[in-house]
């Protein structure tokens, strides 16, 4: 593969509420035993990209912990490897990353010291499966300066970067989070660009004290550069809001999605934990649920996603919920339409339900402490 990878995983996201008080969005748990960044990392690895940098800033500890060893993704090679770039202080600068373009600029030596002709920039919070070889082929065929991987969306268009294309799929207009969305094509935040051009654009950007990749590079140069849209006609979701995070997890209760991501080669990789098998004791009743290793189930679980080491006590009912790693649910509890944060302790007889439809309640350890 003639490209290196950059995964932007630094962003702060308030819409995930308590769940991202201590977690980077890219470290959000997905589908029982994965984390959001696994998808981008695996896509890169599976496309033959052997050198990847993860740029992180906000709550980076959770992410760094997950990326503690590049062994898990087979990145621990002599050639290439996995780099994690957090902000640092030098003689000339002591600033946090002021934006995505600035984050790349502060690590520009990574790009300058490489030899790969292309760079692929991806997001740490995108759940999708994509072969970058095909995107690169497309990029070369269109003689594009920048290729943006795009998807068609029906809802919540105002949350995305909207793209308008001509008949050749060249992008003629790009509007970030439009008030009045036109069309249905959105940017997934995955870009292919020649490495030298990226350096050039980022340096120009920095000189003018501009810091954001989307507004200061993509939108600013949309007319001057040949920017093309590559349509990804398959599953793609970002976990930008609580409902979308909830939905992404629930999507994995469908066999076709599990097959696509986890069984059809090449599959999504993650850090493996050494948990014992999931255990279902006398009295357990399960239906349409994912239940990861290390779980011990004594009660009833319906239409839910249980991460590792979850305990469900006798006569408890968990329904339409996401229960993260190591959560403990005592006896005679009801947990419905909830996202229970990792290591939360729900004492015997507790009831956590929501008022209305589509309402999701976040239950985190903190709530337990304050009563």
């Amino acid at each position: 593969m003639r490209a290196l990878g950059i995964i932007l995983a630094g962003g702060k996201n308030e819409r995930l509420r308590e769940l991202t008080y201590k977690r980077a969005v890219a470290a959000m748990p997905i589908a029982g035993s994965y984390r959001a960044i696994d998808f981008s990392l695996s896509n890169m690895m599976n496309s033959g990209i052997s050198k990847v940098a993860v740029v992180t800033q906000y709550n980076s500890r959770s992410l760094i912990e997950h990326l503690s060893s590049s062994k898990w993704w087979d990145f621990g090679r002599k050639h290439g490897g996995l780099y994690v770039f957090t902000p640092y202080i030098t003689r000339d600068s002591s600033l946090w990353y002021r934006g995505t373009a600035d984050a790349i600029h502060q690590n520009l030596s990574y790009l300058k010291d490489s030899h790969e002709p292309y760079a692929i920039v991806a997001q740490g919070d995108a759940v999708c499966k994509i072969d970058f070889n095909r995107v690169l082929e497309y990029h070369v065929e269109k003689r594009a300066d920048i290729t943006i991987v795009c998807a068609r969306m029906e809802q919540e268009l105002h949350r995305y970067g909207m793209v308008e294309v001509d008949e050749d799929n060249r992008i003629v207009e790009f509007e970030e989070k439009p008030v009045d969305p036109k069309g249905d094509i959105v940017s997934t935040g995955i870009y292919i660009i020649r490495r030298r051009l990226l350096i050039e654009l980022i340096e120009a950007c920095a000189k003018e004290e501009r810091y954001d990749f989307v507004s200061d590079v993509i939108i600013r140069y949309r007319k001057q550069k040949r920017i093309y849209a590559y349509l990804h006609d398959d599953y793609w979701s970002s976990i930008a809001s609580l409902p979308s995070y909830y939905q992404v997890n629930m999507d994995f209760l469908k066999r076709e999605n599990r097959d696509k991501f986890f069984r059809e080669y090449p599959t999504i990789m993650t850090k493996v934990e050494d948990e014992p098998p999931a255990k279902f004791n006398q009295g357990s009743r399960l239906s349409n649920s994912l239940c990861s290793s290390g779980c011990i189930i004594n009660g009833q679980v319906d239409d839910s996603v249980l991460f590792r080491k979850v305990f469900v006590g006798r006569n408890s009912v968990v329904r339409n919920s996401i229960i993260m790693d190591g959560a403990y649910i005592g006896e005679n509890c009801i947990v419905e339409n909830c996202i229970v944060d990792s290591k939360s302790r729900i004492s015997d007889g507790s009831v956590y339900i929501t008022s209305g439809q589509g309402d999701i309640r976040v239950v985190s350890q903190k709530e337990q402490y304050t009563g």
Partner: protein
């Protein structure tokens, strides 16, 4: 000079012939246990948990799967620049080109491996027992008594004692006699096949025993020799859970013990983890309309049917309408729609067709192998397949790509076998 205080030699060369078709193409230590694990994982995990980071795994019988499983030792953190895990198959040299002829001979032939680490002590283990043990405590005991050899022992029932190496000690736990599988055991203290030696003493005994015996063995030659020569041998009492899963019965029972509410052998303690080579697999999925009680399930397993009292490995699929009870399904098994399986052991990656009945009818003695298949458990080997719609009795052994023609009238009576050798790995 670089050296290791203690290194372990793990004897994993045995076939485990009493496990029948389960060990047709793999050594006993490579047989699955508790769903996602292999039998050897317990000894390997004990080593690293006890702080022993240098392990030589002595292989001989069908080592391919064992090699693949251990690799460079990453799951056990045994991928080290000095030490770590090494696989030691038999080799050809100027003086000899023999297989390993006995347990002590196997270590004798690997003296250069041990000597490279110049250890003070050598721990000898066998790769076919299920237990958690802190070898460091045993080493401390060994050092404290300035022993030449310490043997871990466990109390067994008197009627079982004649199956083991039985040890007699004086009041200070010093070993005064050792009898291999005695007809009339004088004590209930059985050797667990776990020894710590002073390397100097072991080396002398290995060389001497090799000169006198063609099949130099720890139980038969080394230990009796050391006792005779008045070396200091001590017994180290072990009181935890320890099982030899060498027979199909013991294998089945020890597995099924794990599904108890709080089993004696608890895999769920955060302390003393058991490590294994984990495939990256999605979580276990339990479908609507399925039923699951008293089971343990490995990663990536999907249950659409009903399972009760089962130990199930990773990546298993039980299709809708299938009912599996009191059984062990190893990793990668698929069970077709409407199939019914009772008290069976199904080897890795085996495919059971639709509408199969297995474990039906009355118990009958196994015609061909009455010593191996002695209970009502039906066993299917790895990488095999059983065609749709056939009915199979109790105490049967099956292996290979079976086709409907292998089942006259679609049946296999209790106590009969269908074993086809040509199986693609």
């Amino acid at each position: 000079m670089k050296k290791k205080e203690i290194i372990a030699m793990l004897l994993a060369g045995g076939q485990g012939s009493r496990l029948g078709v389960l060990t047709t193409h793999l050594a006993k230590p490579a047989v699955s246990f508790a769903g996602k694990y292999k039998i050897i994982d317990f000894a390997l995990s004990n080593c690293i948990n006890s702080g022993i980071d240098t392990v030589g795994v002595v292989t001989q019988y069908q080592p391919l799967q064992l090699n693949r499983h251990i690799g460079i030792g990453i799951p056990w953190d045994l991928d080290k620049s000095y030490g770590g895990v090494a696989i030691l198959p038999p080799y050809v040299s100027k003086e000899s080109n023999t297989w390993y002829t006995g347990t002590a001979n196997a270590v004798y032939q690997n003296i250069p491996y041990v000597a490279y680490y110049n250890p003070e002590y050598v721990l000898i283990l066998s790769g076919d027992h299920i237990y958690k043990m802190d070898y460091e405590m045993m080493l401390n005991y060994h050092k404290k008594r300035n022993a030449d050899c310490t043997i871990a022992v466990i109390q067994v029932e008197p009627e079982e004692a004649s199956r083991f190496g039985i040890i007699n000690t004086d009041e200070e736990n010093r070993i005064v006699a050792f009898e291999e599988k005695p007809k009339e055991p004088k004590s209930r203290m059985a050797s667990m096949g776990i020894y710590i030696f002073k390397w100097k003493a072991l080396r002398e005994a290995l060389v001497l025993s090799e000169a006198n015996h063609d099949d130099s063995d720890f139980g038969k030659h080394i230990i009796p020799y050391l006792i005779e020569q008045k070396y200091r041998l001590f017994a180290y009492q072990y009181e935890g859970f320890w099982r030899d899963v060498g027979t199909l019965d013991a294998y089945w029972e020890t597995n099924l013990e794990l599904v108890g509410l709080v089993p004696d052998f608890n895999l769920y303690e955060a302390y003393w983890k058991i490590y294994t080579k984990n495939e990256i697999l999605p979580p276990q999925y339990i479908a609507p309309g399925s039923y699951i009680e008293k089971c343990i399930l490995g990663e990536g397993t999907e249950i659409y049917g009903s399972i009760y009292n089962c130990v199930i490995g990773s990546g298993v699929i039980v299709e809708a309408g299938a009912v599996v009870r009191d059984s062990i399904l190893m990793s990668g098994v698929t069970v077709g729609e409407g199939t019914r399986i009772d008290k069976s052991i199904i080897g890795e990656n085996t495919c059971i067709g639709k509408g199969v009945r297995m474990g039906e009818g009355e118990f009958r003695t196994n015609g061909e192998y009455p010593q191996i298949y002695v209970s009502d458990i039906t066993v299917v080997g790895e990488n095999s397949s059983v065609p749709d719609g056939v009915s199979i009795g109790k105490n049967c052994a099956l292996y290979g790509q079976l086709v409907p023609e292998d089942f006259p009238e679609g049946r296999l009576e209790s106590g009969s076998n269908r074993i086809k050798e040509e199986v693609e790995q």
